[in-house]
């Protein structure tokens, strides 16, 4: 017996999709979905992955939660799982997902597979953060998070690579928080929620597509050096959320609010995790001239503004000036866009149009790439 795989199935994930509800968060909505004739999807998707792993069952132990949260799809796929925990069958919630994730992590799983959508990813993220390798089996209505495989087949393939000891490295991938009510009202409102540690393999949502590329850390460190070397004394640097901007702060020896915006001047921290109001106060008091915004591309979709960094509001961007924005991203992240443009959705259409054109994205020390930016 070699590795241990953990499995969590969110039995209600994906319930709302086929009936046009754009999500399944909350019991009321799930009930409405069932009334509309929705069928649960997650156990089907999980089963597709498990059946591909089943022929190799002798080489791993599968740990999971009871009944619909993993045990049943595992047995249906011909696997004999080790079952831990307890649930109220048919009435599970996000809390069950959180408990399962924490307990599976504590049981020493080498890879935690979870079937669901963005909400499931948030629950897993709350429970385990980046303490254990994870990979999502796509089953939710909407998947904006970069922690899911693009298909169940690719998920099984990645799990097999873990089993064979062929995963070269892991990376931190974005978990997004999408406001389902806003989406149903026709507005997209997204925040960067956190990160999970996923195998650094091609074929995930934010596909790296280039098996031989190494050194995500080295790439980020190189970008960070480029940014730090360009810093000018007495100017404000507004550093957006994400792992790439975190590398900049690390290079400065400063702490970073991973999901928030920090402000730096003269290589020292001026303020941490600031709100739009605090930013406007700072810019107003200190004078905007020379201030610079440093942001990265969020997730696999290419957003520079309007997803996960709403603190950098139209008013903040205007106060800094549209020509004082530094976009940083590893070249693999840009390649994963497959020619799609970078996106901005600041909420101010006039500003979005002003930002459109070409961004000169810093991809390494001394290297940049021109990337089309669309409103």
């Amino acid at each position: 017996m070699g590795l241990r795989f953990g499995l969590i199935v969110n039995p209600v994930a994906g319930l709302g999709g086929r009936v046009g509800l754009k999500g399944s968060d909350g019991e009321a909505l799930q009930e409405r979905a069932r009334q509309l004739g929705a069928q649960p999807e997650a156990h089907v998707r999980a089963g597709q992955v498990l059946r591909e792993l089943a022929p190799h069952a002798a080489r791993f132990e599968l740990l999971t939660y009871p009944s619909e949260m993993g045990e049943r799809p595992a047995r249906d796929a011909g696997l004999i799982p080790t079952v831990i925990g307890a649930i109220r069958d048919g009435h599970t919630t996000g809390r069950d997902t959180q408990r399962a994730a924490a307990e599976l992590r504590d049981s020493g799983v080498d890879l935690l597979l979870f079937a669901g959508g963005d909400g499931t990813a948030r629950d897993v993220c709350d429970a385990v953060g980046t303490t254990v390798p994870c990979l999502g089996i796509p089953a939710g209505v909407k998947i904006h998070s970069a922690v899911y495989a693009i298909s169940t087949r690719r998920c099984a393939e990645a799990a097999m690579r873990v089993l064979d000891g062929r995963v070269r490295s892991y990376r931190e991938a974005e978990v997004m928080d999408i406001d389902e009510d806003a989406v149903r009202a026709g507005r997209v409102s997204a925040a960067l929620y956190g990160y999970l540690k996923v195998p650094n393999e091609s074929g995930l949502v934010q596909s790296l597509k280039s098996g031989g590329q190494t050194g995500e850390e080295a790439a980020l460190a190189s970008i960070a050096r480029a940014v730090v070397e360009q810093m000018t004394d007495d100017r404000l640097y507004i550093v957006g959320p994400g792992t790439t901007p975190r590398a900049v702060m690390t290079a400065l020896g400063l702490p970073k609010t991973l999901l928030g915006v920090d402000v730096v001047r003269n290589r020292e921290l001026v303020a941490s995790d600031v709100s739009e109001r605090q930013l406007l106060d700072l810019l107003g008091r200190e004078g905007a001239p020379g201030a610079q915004i440093v942001v990265t591309v969020i997730g696999g979709q290419g957003y520079v503004f309007g997803r996960g960094n709403q603190q950098l509001s139209p008013a903040v961007i205007r106060a800094v000036g549209t020509d004082h924005i530094t976009v940083i991203a590893a070249r693999t992240k840009l390649a994963a866009l497959e020619g799609r443009p970078l996106l901005v959705d600041t909420g101010d259409q006039q500003l979005d149009r002003e930002l459109a054109g070409y961004a000169r994205v810093i991809i390494a020390k001394g290297e940049s790439m021109m990337v089309k930016l669309a409103p």
Partner: protein
């Protein structure tokens, strides 16, 4: 016409041949030189003693192996090699493999040439200087440039020479510090970014537009008074010729920059299009890509670098000149960037390339381009009927030139078999692993093939047949393809991660030992 020959019972020779240092036995010698005769010692004295401080104190760390074992080792390595001369190397897209005529190997082995010494007086080496001079005239004609140097010892080295000359040019105009950026395109050869970066420039890379052609608007957004030059390949690695190339040059010139044309591989346009007419200031050829000299596993090579008259004063010294009666080396060039290589570059390649060009003549060079493009389009048309295979920017209405970047993404979606698996199965047919793409992969699951003028229709059909079979197998029995190759006895790296970890691999034995110690 011959029938298609696919080598179905191919078996590659492969085993764990030890590294020669592992074969070393202390005290073993390949050659035991006889003691120096008394009469000689009396005549020349204590030669070793006269070396004084030049005498090395420690013995070099050389393997101690007998002649017989060296010979065995060498032949074993050659048997394991899927080299250019024993495989259908259409595989090596972007490398531009072509036949190296054997007669040229005989030429460079002739004592009249092989025994020349670079310290000989010009008057005693008029023959090779004449060949340098004559080959330069040919390159001038083919490119439209005004001067060439044959000193750089490879393509990247020629691009580095171009970057150094750009720096000298801007420095002379008082803009050396201000113009610190060069521009390239993402499908250009990677050296068009790497060589200027090594020369100290910051690099801006342009993406392709929706048709796979470098984005002109992105160039407009990139140029400024900091632009030193653009370094671009055309046709690029995806095989698409940029029809707006003159517009690119014009925009860079208007910004005050220079334009360098990477025509390492000129197979698509020899005798058809020239750097000069597109407005370029500099260009280079890899003579191993375009003029048939051996790739030689990474050298020794020759990168022929050319430029317009206004830049000729910066060329490396010496240049080869002719005063009407004799050829001579001109070392007196005050504004030169200096030497980029010892002596005069790799003269053996210059001789081979000159011989090849003389054998073909001007019409023959044009024919090389015609057949290269024809071969490529024949193969493309056949391959695009293979299930699961598409090409980059397929259907953009632009005819491909001398190579095509294909994509197995459809096969991967349909069967789980991607380009790495296809590649491993292909070698079961005695065909060298193909080149996928430079990184990062812009085109998913890529494969780049380049059937230049060397290949016969039977070679093209063999390649098509082999890939067709791999595709068919992938749809019928993907697990069979995943386990390939079968005709090679040790076919996977034991530790896949090792090659990605710079702490664990090394290019030389000494570096390897050093890393092991750390």
């Amino acid at each position: 016409m011959a029938t298609v020959k696919v080598r179905r019972n191919f078996q590659q020779a492969r085993w764990d041949e030890p590294i020669i240092y592992d074969m070393s036995v202390p005290g073993v010698r390949g050659i035991l030189p006889p003691p120096v005769e008394r009469a000689v010692v009396d005549r020349v004295g204590d030669v070793v003693g006269e070396l004084g401080s030049m005498l090395r104190r420690e013995l070099p760390n050389l393997p101690e192996v007998s002649q017989k074992h060296v010979l065995m080792h060498w032949i074993h390595l050659s048997q394991e090699t899927m080299g250019a001369n024993l495989t259908n190397d259409i595989s090596e897209g972007t490398c531009t493999m072509k036949y190296n005529p054997r007669v040229n190997e005989d030429l460079v082995g002739e004592p009249d040439f092989a025994d020349l010494h670079p310290h000989q007086d010009d008057d005693t080496v008029q023959g090779i200087l004449q060949i340098y001079h004559a080959f330069e005239q040919m390159l001038k004609e083919v490119s439209g440039m005004d001067r060439f140097t044959l000193q750089p010892s490879g393509g990247n080295h020629a691009v580095f020479t171009a970057a150094s000359i750009a720096r000298a040019y801007h420095a002379a105009r008082g803009e050396g510090d201000q113009r610190d950026e060069t521009i390239t395109t993402i499908f250009s050869h990677p050296c068009d970014a790497a060589a200027p970066a090594t020369a100290g420039y910051k690099i801006i890379t342009l993406p392709p537009d929706e048709n796979g052609i470098p984005d002109l608007d992105a160039l407009r957004a990139a140029v400024s008074n900091r632009t030193a030059a653009i370094f671009m390949t055309n046709p690029e690695d995806v095989g698409i010729f940029n029809p707006r190339v003159d517009e690119f040059v014009r925009i860079v010139h208007e910004a005050g920059g220079l334009a360098f044309y990477d025509q390492a591989n000129a197979n698509a346009f020899l005798g058809v299009a020239r750097a000069k007419e597109s407005g370029f200031d500099m260009c280079h050829f890899n003579v191993h890509k375009t003029f048939s000299t051996p790739h030689a596993s990474g050298g020794p090579a020759t990168g022929a670098f050319g430029c317009i008259e206004a830049l000729a004063k910066y060329l490396p010294t010496p240049t080869v000149e002719f005063d009407g009666t004799r050829y001579f080396l001109d070392h007196d060039r005050p504004e030169t960037i200096g030497k980029v290589k010892d002596f005069y570059g790799n003269a053996n390649n210059v001789l081979r390339a000159y011989a090849w060009t003389m054998m073909l003549g001007a019409d023959g060079l044009r024919e090389v381009a015609d057949i290269s493009v024809l071969n490529n389009n024949y193969l493309e048309k056949k391959l695009l009927t293979v299930p699961g295979l598409t090409s980059a920017y397929q259907g953009n209405g632009i005819r491909r030139q001398e190579q095509v970047r294909y994509s197995w993404q459809t096969l991967k979606d349909d069967t789980g078999i991607g380009t790495d698996e296809v590649n491993r199965r292909l070698i079961d047919f005695g065909i060298a692993s193909y080149w996928t793409s430079h990184h990062p992969w812009i085109i998913p699951e890529p494969m780049t093939l380049e059937p230049c003028e060397t290949y016969s229709v039977e070679d093209l059909d063999e390649y098509y047949e082999a890939l067709s079979q791999v595709s068919e197998e992938s749809y019928r029995d993907p697990d069979f393809v995943k386990e390939a190759p079968y005709a090679s006895s040790s076919h996977r790296r034991n530790d896949e991660a090792a090659l990605d970890d710079p702490k664990r691999w090394a290019m030389t034995w000494r570096a390897y030992k050093r890393k092991q110690e750390v």
